[in-house]
Symmetry: D2
Subunit: 407 residues, 4 copies
Amino acid sequence: MLNLDFHPTGRHFLQIPGPSPVPDRILRAMSLPTIDHRGPEFGALGRELLGKVGKIFKTDKPVIIYPASGTGAWEAALANTLSPGEQVLMFETGHFASLWHRLALRLGLEPEFLGLPGAEGWRHGVQADMIEARLKQDTEQRIKAVCVVHNETSTGVTSDIAAVRRAIDAAGHPALLLVDTISGLASADYRHDEWGVDVTISGSQKGLMLPPGISFNAISDKALAASRESRLPKSFWAWDEILEANQGGYWPYTPNTNLLYGLNEAIDMLLDEGMDNVLARHQRWAAGVRAAVNAWGLEIQCQDPEVYSPVLTGVVMPEGVDADAVRKLIYERFDLSLGTGLGKAKGRMFRIGHLGDCNDLTLMATLAGCEMGLKLSGVSLAGSGVEAAMAYFSENPAPHVARPARD
Amino acid sequence: MLNLDFHPTGRHFLQIPGPSPVPDRILRAMSLPTIDHRGPEFGALGRELLGKVGKIFKTDKPVIIYPASGTGAWEAALANTLSPGEQVLMFETGHFASLWHRLALRLGLEPEFLGLPGAEGWRHGVQADMIEARLKQDTEQRIKAVCVVHNETSTGVTSDIAAVRRAIDAAGHPALLLVDTISGLASADYRHDEWGVDVTISGSQKGLMLPPGISFNAISDKALAASRESRLPKSFWAWDEILEANQGGYWPYTPNTNLLYGLNEAIDMLLDEGMDNVLARHQRWAAGVRAAVNAWGLEIQCQDPEVYSPVLTGVVMPEGVDADAVRKLIYERFDLSLGTGLGKAKGRMFRIGHLGDCNDLTLMATLAGCEMGLKLSGVSLAGSGVEAAMAYFSENPAPHVARPARD
Amino acid sequence: MLNLDFHPTGRHFLQIPGPSPVPDRILRAMSLPTIDHRGPEFGALGRELLGKVGKIFKTDKPVIIYPASGTGAWEAALANTLSPGEQVLMFETGHFASLWHRLALRLGLEPEFLGLPGAEGWRHGVQADMIEARLKQDTEQRIKAVCVVHNETSTGVTSDIAAVRRAIDAAGHPALLLVDTISGLASADYRHDEWGVDVTISGSQKGLMLPPGISFNAISDKALAASRESRLPKSFWAWDEILEANQGGYWPYTPNTNLLYGLNEAIDMLLDEGMDNVLARHQRWAAGVRAAVNAWGLEIQCQDPEVYSPVLTGVVMPEGVDADAVRKLIYERFDLSLGTGLGKAKGRMFRIGHLGDCNDLTLMATLAGCEMGLKLSGVSLAGSGVEAAMAYFSENPAPHVARPARD
Amino acid sequence: MLNLDFHPTGRHFLQIPGPSPVPDRILRAMSLPTIDHRGPEFGALGRELLGKVGKIFKTDKPVIIYPASGTGAWEAALANTLSPGEQVLMFETGHFASLWHRLALRLGLEPEFLGLPGAEGWRHGVQADMIEARLKQDTEQRIKAVCVVHNETSTGVTSDIAAVRRAIDAAGHPALLLVDTISGLASADYRHDEWGVDVTISGSQKGLMLPPGISFNAISDKALAASRESRLPKSFWAWDEILEANQGGYWPYTPNTNLLYGLNEAIDMLLDEGMDNVLARHQRWAAGVRAAVNAWGLEIQCQDPEVYSPVLTGVVMPEGVDADAVRKLIYERFDLSLGTGLGKAKGRMFRIGHLGDCNDLTLMATLAGCEMGLKLSGVSLAGSGVEAAMAYFSENPAPHVARPARD
């Protein structure tokens, strides 16, 4: 059997911003025997899943579950709502926004890419006023959709989606609002219905604590109506046949059954904890990690405290330090994976994931690994981030901990 | 946790033609911790996988591994090689051939659907002479691809792909040959290179003994060349970016890591056994099952012994017997899942899967369940299929069994 | 990792009378992380376990759970109640009764071994009248305990324990009644309190469907009183310290935590099914297996239908046939383990286990393996056991099957 | 299924001095199907295990593997070598030495308990000179065995066993040397043959990284000879029948098969790493933890640096601080289990386990949890232990780390 344990003992610390560590409880659920996806047990499972998955997206509308990883759900959102050559307005918040832009190009759409100038775009969130201004110019209403990333995984910025909705409304523009919250869902506050999102795109391997392989489209009535006019060719991604089969708890083609077992477990875990608690947990961890970065005297990639991500924190290296060399040292010495800098940020930053199946001590271990690794790499630190995080976590206890008293 | 054990004890017998039972060894591999798909261990795993997966397809050419279930790989094969409105020639062998035909329509292609008249088409294999004749008519070479199903899962017919290749060549026609062997791979003889297939489509949940969620495109040089001209929009399915990232053992987007752990284990299991042994094992099981069906005096759906499937056997019910009622009784009384009749065969037949992680006694249990269920349903049987299968398996021992001697 | 899969595919059929196949649900429970056996979670688990384990023994009295396999619990029962040189009356029902007799000798007791003459003793149950007669002779009451095996695993005989109780009472004798139901518990009817048993000995790897490693002493008030006078040296097995620590849900030394996770799951599974259903299930399977043996024209080891075991059936070979050679062939050809003949029965019989995590088709597979193996070994059979068992199982449906309706 | 996850997310840190965290690789091995312990695969496994287990004890002599937890192996060592009423000389190093003393009393032996006066005995190792002096007094050679604990789990002291051997030899005394290294084996240096130990007692749930349930007696020729004269009653623990059955790789009664799968995996993991590396790893972790305790300005329970344990460190609380209240807070706030003070040390100290399946960051997390918990409990600390440990681990890299280079 595959041996992934390169250190002789101990568990690897996977603190990248997704895939996040998968709880044993979910791995155990995924190891149940595969069943007939046309049999009655599967139908019962499917109906249960489809009945509760919306609670994670805060929607009463349909959520499509694809047996494919997240990039597929980007394609699905566009292919189901748009026609060849149509214009879409996208906003450059980082690497993943750029990838989605490229995907739109490949599908034969005409994406326009708004953004702040220079490197600034990657250090702030979506600028709703820029979108509003652009839509107001579009008097012919040729722009069919506005596409934004909620939690930009490459930078650690969580944009204000409600503001984007308000901007579209303020412009009186009929464009659809398509939002990628692949890395935000179930970690950062997200409200599909309340925020008037038309298609929400997400994936399994982040806040849902699953391995990759499942992705989602949550859809509004307006998006559903648009899908009936859309002329981009599609079959695997087509909503219509899936929605029809979903009525009975089934899929029109083979779903990935064992990952659905895991999804069922993940949703139960999250709802048992309570979504408010889930979100507060991530906010608290993020604050602890930022306390450490500040104590080190290093810059946080996100420049705007209003949109700090609760999911990950981008740590900018001082001039002359190769972030990937630091990551490599930390990985080899301390069995800790950190996220690399992507695209424009390559070599300039690393990313600490603080999401999903973690606890305070997991993060203390992570920060200790970072602090030792930074020092061993010759980075001069202003102070001890580990001390700062210990102080933060000690002074700000987790809101409630339900467990039996010890004698 | 999800409880799928509806009978109080004992293991469910999943004898549908896929998903096939997943060996514990593979479930165990899939429960390893998810790793960073941009880290060095993943790259090493990816390079190993990509280096050996071709042996299952009998090809030296690239094999694309998609983090999506099999229907996606149908779409991928068409989207990468064809342009909007192009003609393809498809052959109706059963339900899955029909679904692929419909998918081609949805993608905006112009599929032509050849086939034997009436119900006959679903009881025989692909008629290579019909394809040859049609291609010869196509003097303008407007047909860009011939699409056939190797092992038709809905009927239990395994078509002669080499004959289709010869037919295309005899017609002197440049059309690509696209073959679906989703349920044939690693159970029925298949030779991508030798048979001159341009795109082979397959999936994980049949002979590979994995849960669903992975699918494949094995591609020829000619297909690769065609992909550079193809104008169907695509991004998730696009070969070019995947092939580029695969150079290093990576994927351009998130692969489904834990299923890849399982794939790695599955390939090792198959290669350790030896592909010839794997194929002989399935042929022997199929012969034992057919001996039972013949003894019962029931008809086999496939009318042509040359193309009996080694993967599954379709059992036709006598007039007036609802196959699904029989299946339901067997399922409820004996904890055994059989395949339903699909499309035109609905209610007329059931399908026995005899593939993957089985052994002689698994199949004896299956046949005993069928025999008891048929009798309890009032079907009059000519004789004991169970006896016939015991005789077959006793007289035809498995070719070699490597195991330690017992004292 | 250890590879126990000697056949390339398929699951081994473990149809010995224990260890019985362990359900995945139990293996999964056993793979939870080991916890601090002095911490609060462990105490809660211990209290829950100790509160419900008695339901399996049908007792309100304490049940000691040892982190040791079953032979230890034999020793514990004697060491806690007796003093060096004391007399015990044992009854020879087979190999395991003989082993317990030898163990008593090694502990320095004076066991007397009653039994039917010659080979007969191994083909019948405990003869309560012989015990009564012997106790009546013991006017000085030097016999301190009567020791009998409930379900004799070596022969397939389940003795009438209530009758033994009546015999002791009829003799007006104060001897303790010690009963081994290692292979009977949770498969054959057993009632510690109602039958007036003083110490019940059992183990984990049979009807409880666990791996070996846990054993039990269920004790009466009288046994507890005797333990205060007992002078056999003991510490690990001593009830007093365990009972004291059990008050809080703990053990005086390290318990085997992960097997206790499995035990917790096993008890829940049995109680959810209902003990009456569990017992009826085993009786039905046993009847089906005996129907097969009868149809083959082979002898059942147990000569008295009143005491046929619901757990296993001993199948006697015709003169001149080596039972172990038959077993070896079946094992190598059909991946099926059967129980060997033990002690006096070596080479004369094999044993079919029909207990625990099985279902009708598991047993049909087992009988098919036996029938093919017997024929291939040249044993002449009177008829088809497989047919007989199919007829029995078809005509005698399992009493109730709670599962969702199929559409 | 049992839910042991009392915090909503994250993995519990089990840093008690045993049971130690069980690696997934071992849990996975333990979940293989239980097999027939009288079948050929089991024999092959048994022979392999018995052939390599001695390497962990550094012995060429037999090692008995019991399907019972460690306390049983204490009893076995005495019961196999001694007779009722015989004298043994034991040395009080802590709680576990005291428990063994009590066990000897219960078995009807006459143990003499040497030790340093007052609380001192629990803060130092075995005093070989005191043993030598006592043996020299025993001119009638009535003392039959010297019993000492190698690694005293209650205090964190690892005694010098070679010195005890020299003391016995210097006294010219024939007493057997019995050594408990339940918590020392596979973490602290141990040499059964070289040190002339007659019986080594150990268990599975410490350095071997297994769940509890297996224990060991490694025996010398002299011990084996003594066992032939020993008159303490025994059967389950008797070496003779086990040694005989072990010839073929079997046991005289049911072994705990699934834990043996785990043992097989554990031995492979340790031998692959190399025993010298295993020992160095524990020494390094212990030094890092002691650096932290020193920086906090707290006392280490062990007063003699020569015998600091590489397995655990006892941390003494300042006057007036209840160690268990600190532990409770740490447990509830930070999901971290520490060892309680046992016996005389109750409430005065807690114990940090640093053994088995850990790595540097696991220990950093543990120390961070301790430091936060101590401060939150109002304990005044001299400085940051976390910083001290980071400095130690940074300056003293693990000797070698075999892993693939990162690009």
